[in-house]
Symmetry: C2
Amino acid sequence: RIEPKPAAMLRRLLLRQARRRHCSSSFSSALPLSSPTFAVFGANTGVGKTLVSAGLAASLLRSHAASPSAVLYLKPLQTGFPADSDAGFLYRRVPALVRPSHAAHLVASIDTLSPAPSVETPSSSREEAAFSYDGEGKAVRKLLACRTLYAWREAVSPHLAAEREGMTVEDAHVRSLLAACLSEGENLGKGEGDVWKLVETAGGVASPGPSGTLQCDLYRHFRLPTILVGDGRLGGISGTLSAYETLLLRGYDVSAVILEDCGLSNDKFLLSYLRNRVPVLVLPPIPEDPSDDLTDWFSESSSVFGLLEDALRSFHLKRIQRLNSMQRKSKDLLWWPFTQHNLVPVDCVTVIDSRCGESFSAYKVKDNKMMMIPQFDACASWWTQGPDSKLQIELARDMGYAAARYGHVMFPENAHEPALRCAELLLGGIGKDWASRVYYSDNGSTAIEIALKMAFRKFSLDRGILLDSDKSITNERNIQLKVLALKGSYHGDTLGAMEAQAPSAYTSFLQQPWYSGRGLFLDPPTVFIRNGTCALSLPQSIQNCHLSPGDKCFPSLADVFCKSRDSSAAADLYSTYISQQLSEYSVSSNIEHIAALIIEPVIQGAGGMHMIDPLFQRVLVHECRDRKIPVIFDEVFTGFWRLGVESASELLGCLPDVACYAKLMTGGIVPLAATVTTEAVFEAFKSDSKLTALLHGHSYTAHAMGCSAAVKAIQWFRDPSTNSNLDFDRMKLKELWDGTLVNQLSSLPNVKRVVSLGTLCAIELQAEGSDAGYASLYARSLIQQLREEDDIYVRPLGNVIYLMCGPCTTRDVCTEQLSKVYHRISHFNPIH
Amino acid sequence: RIEPKPAAMLRRLLLRQARRRHCSSSFSSALPLSSPTFAVFGANTGVGKTLVSAGLAASLLRSHAASPSAVLYLKPLQTGFPADSDAGFLYRRVPALVRPSHAAHLVASIDTLSPAPSVETPSSSREEAAFSYDGEGKAVRKLLACRTLYAWREAVSPHLAAEREGMTVEDAHVRSLLAACLSEGENLGKGEGDVWKLVETAGGVASPGPSGTLQCDLYRHFRLPTILVGDGRLGGISGTLSAYETLLLRGYDVSAVILEDCGLSNDKFLLSYLRNRVPVLVLPPIPEDPSDDLTDWFSESSSVFGLLEDALRSFHLKRIQRLNSMQRKSKDLLWWPFTQHNLVPVDCVTVIDSRCGESFSAYKVKDNKMMMIPQFDACASWWTQGPDSKLQIELARDMGYAAARYGHVMFPENAHEPALRCAELLLGGIGKDWASRVYYSDNGSTAIEIALKMAFRKFSLDRGILLDSDKSITNERNIQLKVLALKGSYHGDTLGAMEAQAPSAYTSFLQQPWYSGRGLFLDPPTVFIRNGTCALSLPQSIQNCHLSPGDKCFPSLADVFCKSRDSSAAADLYSTYISQQLSEYSVSSNIEHIAALIIEPVIQGAGGMHMIDPLFQRVLVHECRDRKIPVIFDEVFTGFWRLGVESASELLGCLPDVACYAKLMTGGIVPLAATVTTEAVFEAFKSDSKLTALLHGHSYTAHAMGCSAAVKAIQWFRDPSTNSNLDFDRMKLKELWDGTLVNQLSSLPNVKRVVSLGTLCAIELQAEGSDAGYASLYARSLIQQLREEDDIYVRPLGNVIYLMCGPCTTRDVCTEQLSKVYHRISHFNPIH
């Protein structure tokens, strides 16, 4: 039994690093982009990945030009070691391949460099060679460095070798060491010319690594452009195309396919099939005689490797050019929502190359160096995100399957499996014990418009505004239906949704000249953490002389949600206030009816991340029930574990008649919304005429991909085997935001309040006048720092900044981000 | 050189059939579902597909139960024939495998059946065997039928063999013959027990067939549940998982994975990886000695094949149970848009199992037989559909890639490749020569709300309602902005979009109590075909005494679009009418302003598929331009080749300030919308304050999957190498609806008018009173017939029925559907 590589010391060092930085699926190493870096994947094992790496390295080093000045070859996982060592093969063979053709120019010989300071590797795995050319009167030094990162003795798949030899390695460690080596590799060239880097994977694209994670998944965080070594044998077309698709299903870009000619013309077919997608190159037949040292073969192949080099170079250049052009182009062509374009300098545009779980991969040029930098997506991409890196790949596969199986099929009068399965899961989950119907649409805003239509019809029927038998209208002209809602609420940007909210920055004449605000809007009491204490804040309109300090301060958030508060003085106060408001309103107008209550349960999102006293909302719901006013919960933001429970109605302790879901419902991958409701509401639309049916729909209603994503995500989040944050007995997420840190944050002098619940931690900065509110630019420098220095992608709501994670994000990741934010805010001093 | 099988006569017969029925990618054979049918795919070549087929067949036939009474084994493509014949192998070996273990019960011997009447195959490829059991005092007859459909001599991939032997076969013929054999196979059992059917593919999952089409694509139309024979060798985990993903990317359901034990425990890893997805079974090592007749191996394997049989049986039963439950469940759980649930009997619910190009695969029980029936999707799933079967698979792969690469990433202030590339294509295509900005949203309705906000801001600035410098409002309270629109128009179901349309069935108090209709709504003149003539119909409000017959009748549709009409009497008439209406309106109110024109160019869709006189719309646009009223084109329905050109503004001959796109933009796979506009409109939102920015957005704005789909679809439709309907020189689609048939239809006594343009052919039936209009059930029996008898999935707009195809649908397919419709309508006699 041999020690897996790297040596124990390094592993310990890495382990410590990993515990700190990579405890989750999130990944935080910046990748240099200045030099071309490629992953070498195989369509199968034994298709010649190492020969391709060697041939390519030789071709690169043979050049007399200053660039590349070095080639770094990395073999992260090697089995059959030391007898088999792909790094050793390159170390031994490449120098000989470089020399012969340039004998006249070659001066120096193989050399062993001292170990790079931060990556200590045992000598057996460090194998490097240096070349010098003395062509055109100018000495050019070239370097080849070959490294094995982890090795096992048995010549089997790494997962078996690791198991049998008792030497497993966590994925995070492999990635961490690989990232360090790639970063380190930049220095090999000593600033003179590019350093090409090749990472050769083990086995085929989907061969398991030591932990069982597939090769394609293990390295996905880097998303290196890929050389796919195809299979030239019988059946090799199929294997090559399947491997290609497996790479696509991980979001890789395949920059070239190269394969051996086995006399079956596989390359011709692949060339034609992959035309306009990927260049396909063919290598001469590889001699089968094991005693053949392949010198002739390499020589015969050198022109093909030259073409491969050209293809890769061109791929790399085009990629960099495109990345460099994207800031400018986006400024020129795009019109971003909610964005004052004058306030976005071209160099502040974030170029997002990809996403992996909770992090973007953002392209940046820092100190003249091009980098791909992982940024924690702290706004959860407008509150949609749930996937960790595993769920993302699961969803990607499901999206491909759903698109291939269904494309899109129309919905009315039809049934298809994803829509039906999703409905079953919704009604068995967030709709359990109350809902019986699912109405699909496209986004939160449309779900709300539908909910309002449902509530209005139900109300009109119950109140006799419509005659039940034929649903004709008694006296339409004199009737105006309004909503009861809370100030600061937000339900979407289409007019119908907007009419249900109180006036705000979003509703001005400038924004929507047709907005009038069709509702009675109440001032809600709010709850927040300040100076480490959980406190209730009453609006001026609610008298508070009867409340004791015990009614207004709480030892913990759990006490705020406690049902025993139903018999508190606060409950009486709320009930009186609400009754009074409703009475005053109905007296003042006899043609206006409050026909629906609409609230965001517990947290008002876009209004500034305010936590509304749940007792107030519960009393509100009961008052409306008593008056036969249908109750709508807008759970677009709060639903699906956003607040630590599947539905925020669990926190509130009461149920709606209609509830709206979107955002996280699909796990955060594709738009889909659902308006879920009771059978009683559904019945209000039944008759013998099509005209009484709910005539609201969108083209892609219940589209198969959206429903499939929802099916996967709903199950994933509810399952403790996939969601390790889930406390299955209580069907609640564990606390994700460190309580001590939250309290410390809330005690900072420049922090006004903190709200921490489920996946959300929001911080309102102290600000006055125009520094407060939606249009405030007060936090701008803080945001810049968090984005640029801390790699946290924050998008504020005026002077409110927030962190948001997914339901499966580990507490460690949350703590890391929250610590950074604490640090920044404690030093925050805005310059006006 | 041998003749490919089947024999020449059959091929000719099939060729004729195919020309009639399968000239396109659409596929119209019903598949029986009563008996289990499975496709056998291989992770690679040489992994033992035929051994698995043989073992499974033997296991099935060994049973003493009445069911299955027969096994039909089909090998559609055989190379190396006749030396290699997988059908021959089963024919020779299975009887021996069945007999030994049941010697006591076996009575009869191998038998050769007479050829089935409709499938004449040469004797060399028809190999059948019959068994009889005499167990439990009851004779049970069992039958094995083995067939090869097409064979080539060389033992290479079918695409090479076909090329080298000069014997190619079109995909449609392979599918057609296979469908006939599967259908025929039902009769083998003579009604006594199930007939299991196995279709063994050639090579690996992605090995090319004779035409070059991959195995997985060639058989996709059938979407048979699949047995994946995995690879037990080194690298086989990767190959098996990649093959599995390739099948998923075609929408296949893998019912079992079975592989040889090669001592590497590949099965253990696969079992763990595929847990809760697919059962994984492992077969004992296959003897390598070619002289081994495998008797012992089959005997050793029999328990595994028994398990495979159980797994498949369970898969089949569950599938059927689920399919049978779906009508009931969907009636119980779903709430369909635009549907009066009382009018949909449970047995009229269409259960859609999948889609392939232009057709659904619908599950039906007819005469007690369970069938999977392709239905032409004549409503293009609410006008979204563009993909043929090839584009669908392309899009599926792109969807998987985009989801894996990006998941979803938020858009404001960010750039990502799909959003940018899509914007480039939009501005270079439908926005060419006028547009410079793209604003993304989710659907047509949101795109319209955004367009209105853009137009209102521009108008307000131009008219001095807003002060340019700081965009503050001069006198908000006295200002009401309205739209100019046409009666019968439709722009979506959210309130803002709805306010821009004239009162209709969709806008009643019942549907939307908040609707008021904020516009001046004009009566438009329409154009249609009646009695083979293209005629103009003027509304009562437009005086027509000055128009000559030449102004009101047109030799062809092209003449209606002719620019020379700009100087006709009709143009004067229109101009006068519009000016007068606008003047009257502005006199009647000095607080209301017409702040936008919004029209559906050329065709009003949801309003009943009315073609508006393009001259009228052109005049309208010019009149608004003169008055600085911004012009919005709602191209949600008309855009992207729906009317035979990429943008309907090409037909109209004038350009908008703002245009909205959705539906077909993504090819019809996933929701996405774009509001495209000029730089002048964009500039109206610029200032130094966030409050003047356009504050409208949705969570998934510019989501990567939607934009990626749009990028693929826009390019696909514009490219003559992928869209064979495209007349590249004129950038127009060829005529898809047969002119003679259209004229004949328009001459039927019960047809009021026909509109045929691009991918649309609409027919209004003669109907009076309540039989006309949106709520009409007049065409109900006709619709039922088209759906049930003709396999055309039609969804009417009241008494208007229409056919809609994709931009790539062949004329032959269109003609076939139109002929069926002609036939039905000519015999249509509604019973009241």
